[in-house]
Symmetry: D2
Subunit: 172 residues, 4 copies
């Protein structure tokens, strides 16, 4: 009614995270990776970088403080990317402050799937562990061990506050 002040869709920040929300976040992450790679191949790195910024804003919790992010291919002394800039450099490269970054999201990804995830809902946060498999335009397949941690952002949606990715161990 006219003077009803309540928002049409309340942002219930205290609502426990659900399994469905975590699964949707997994699907969205894979979709974003392929979208950024495709943007790069069709429109170039600057366009891919703009899209990557949108993805980081909506999917990661950098607006809430440091994000515990250990990407698959980073090396010392820049292994951990707790800042927005460090994450952006990892995904799309082109940042002199991160000379080793060539842009993980620019590697021609065309398909991405998550699997074998076990999900723990710990109240107002949630954790998942499993694999992410990615196929590039040449048909090469990369499979990584993946851990994600989520908390709600100001829009009520899940934000990644923890991301540990690593290549499977192989005995020499």
């Amino acid at each position: 009614m006219a003077h009803d002040h309540a928002a049409p869709k309340p942002v219930t920040l205290y609502a426990p995270i659900t399994q469905a929300e975590v699964e949707a976040a997994h699907t969205a992450w894979c979709g974003a990776l392929v979208a950024i790679a495709t943007e790069n191949d069709t429109k170039g790195q600057p366009a891919a970088k703009e899209l990557a910024k949108k993805v980081l804003d909506s999917a990661y919790g950098y607006g809430m403080g440091p994000v515990l992010f250990k990407p698959t291919l980073t090396v010392v002394p820049q292994t951990f990317r707790t800042t927005y800039d460090g994450a952006l450099a990892y995904f799309v490269g082109g940042d002199k402050a991160y000379p080793n970054d060539t842009g993980f999201a620019l590697k021609g990804w065309r398909k991405c799937e998550t699997s074998n995830n076990t999900i723990l809902i710990t109240g107002n946060s949630a954790l998942s562990m499993g694999n992410v498999t990615m196929w590039d335009s040449k048909g090469n397949v990369t499979k990584v061990d993946k851990t994600w941690g989520y908390a709600r952002g100001t829009d009520g949606g899940l934000k990644i506050v923890l991301h540990h990715s690593s290549l499977p161990y192989s005995a020499k």
Copy 2:
């Protein structure tokens, strides 16, 4: 730096609520009650109502869903005020939909104190119980038993999601 995207002051919604935050919320509630009453006495009910709206927006969690609000003086069938309109009517009256409401915040309050509160921090929510004592412009004193529950809002500040107020029991 120029392309650092992190907010100057991050809104860390997942941060546990602190005792200091709860005590500040108590002080703010008392201050708002006196401010609304003073606004009414100096500028009239419409001005008091505008101020009450600001207070409800900043201090209560109606933007996050229903608020568990049992005001001191409400009666059946409108005892519980889970909506923004029901809360506004209770504090400043003037709403035909709530004919019994004369406006609790319009009763000439000049001083308000909280006391004897025990505070429980339950992770991302917090609970408090104790008394609120209010003095009006004629020196009359009203003391109520008060319970509040808090959760973080989208601005990172505490919002009241539970408010149970009652007059002390007195054997007939």
Copy 3:
């Protein structure tokens, strides 16, 4: 299997509280009140007190610290019953330290129902507000405004950490 160490039924303390758990806690509280009253009428106060202890141990969070408990009929300076002893005295009386307590649970209750509850699940805690209606052996009815707050105990079950009960307001 022999050396499988995992508990048959894990106590997942971090699991968000569910609406069903809160509703079950409401039903259990009413059932316990009637059981204590009936125990008193059939076996006497000592038996009722033993049963009340069991109820407090299983249903309230005194083992986790102070409980924010404002019973319906307490008066200053013993309005708030944050300790186990204060709660036990309220329910079954007979404690010199609480001279005004005649034992709320000893008033011949034969039926108890909760209604009109709004439940908020705030992650690892939960809040409810509504009414509790109680009928005694003479058919007298008592209806109170009731707020409960819950958190998980060491057994994984819900424990009451907040309990504010008050008689409905009536204008003189």
Copy 4:
């Protein structure tokens, strides 16, 4: 007093996890690794296994459900060790069900340190990311990228519910 039923030290399961608790858990994990390795070298694997069981019981959350555990050296199809048995086999080996496990905790560790950890307290859970450096009896050094997630157990202490460990990436 005599009939005071409250526990001497309440187990406040709902209390938010503190940074100090997480740091203590890091120190305890390192201490346990060295203790198990030393037990193995001085008393043999069976003694080390008994100690490892005690460590798993006190430090990991297997009693609360599956633990998201991706050890440093596991391989498909047994990469993830969500069960107590899988974790025990990884640390001390000797389990036919896990033929590739030689016992990570049996590798002669004499010193262990955590570093560069960023800690996020997400209410009733906590997350940390950084490095763990381990020195064996021959002076060999192993440094891994380490993520831990914690929640409270029934004893009120932190339990590891998430553990992702990986060797640093090195470009071929």
